[in-house]
Symmetry: C2
Subunit: 215 residues, 2 copies
Amino acid sequence: MEKSTISRAVIQRLPRYYRYLGELMSEGCQRISSGELSNRMHVTASQIRQDLNHFGGFGQQGYGYNVEYLYNEIGKILGLDTTHRVIIIGAGNLGTALANYPNFEKRGFLVTALFDVNPERIGQTVGDIPILPLDTLEDYLAEHPVHIATLAIPKTAAVGVAERLVACGVKAIWNFAHTDLTVPDDVVVENVHLSESLMRLSYNLSTQKKEKGTD
Amino acid sequence: MEKSTISRAVIQRLPRYYRYLGELMSEGCQRISSGELSNRMHVTASQIRQDLNHFGGFGQQGYGYNVEYLYNEIGKILGLDTTHRVIIIGAGNLGTALANYPNFEKRGFLVTALFDVNPERIGQTVGDIPILPLDTLEDYLAEHPVHIATLAIPKTAAVGVAERLVACGVKAIWNFAHTDLTVPDDVVVENVHLSESLMRLSYNLSTQKKEKGTD
DNA sequence: TAGATTGTTAATCGATTAACAATC
DNA sequence: TAGATTGTTAATCGATTAACAATC
């Protein structure tokens, strides 16, 4: 209930808190104050406390936060305490890279299948993960639970595949295609538009050069 | 000069305007009003006009915006009117995927070399692009202009390589490693933290489920 | 000219920061 | 208890939206 009121900006920051807390844990650090974390992360202590308090009081006055406890609590908030079954549509370079990514499994994201249209690729595997014909997507979804579908295909194909996924009841799409997807309200989409990221870098680089020139 | 005052939120949206204008062009559309674009993009017309006016008056009262002109102007703002020479550190799955990405060259991003430490990979090519030993990074940078360096290596290696890049005068880093980089003020970093993106999707999926349950 | 739509100012909204009382 | 640090309210800041005069 409280969750729907939490702003996008706060959610954007949560995984970064999670990453820093994980690092602190592996350094053997047991407690941390918002002030110390503020120094590490280069965000204000006030923002850290404000952000965390959206989800409840995880700290203790005069002490700070227990690193492991807070790490686990944020993990639960992010849904990392359950296993998500993931499929990847597109077994090209990007799809293969994502399937091979070892850290995902560590966080509870289990890739169970890739799908492709290329006859040479179909029947091969990536690690243990089979590459299945895209034709059989509906059959697969009818028989296997899938929580997240990853689109690593060109935008021309992405829109149609997204519709098929939604029709089969998939509720979360991780979209690497360079297009916006229109989906029902109960389906969530997270876009990774790499070319837009590169354009922002290009913009910042150009701007930086100009500043240097006029300083 | 005016550029340094433009907020991150505006820059974030520019590539998306660029993408929609490109689509309009390929549809043969010659002019568009902020109102029509608003309907397409699901942002307010007011925001579109406000955003564009940070860079100058591209429209005409009573007419709207010339699609091709605006597309080209935004391209210039994003620095897409010049060729950026790009290298990729790490010729694993992700680095290879990025090197193969055909759209980058279309936008003026030219990948000239990959670097790796794996002896099996060194000497191979990705398309026309050679895979060079990471040892020779400094030599390469001394002899070839490089505008953007892409880090597609584990975070343990990324911090050290970033320092070497900065020492050689590279001013822009596209960082896929799961770590924050500390760089001088005149170096720009664009982070692509895929695991954080996936965590946000997981959060939204969990939240969505809960809402559905209580509605 | 009249209609349409921008550029731009003013109003609103939301997010961040500061401050401090509560409390461990 | 005294010191430290949170949780939380209030103040500030910035971004978005609304409104409308300017103008094509």
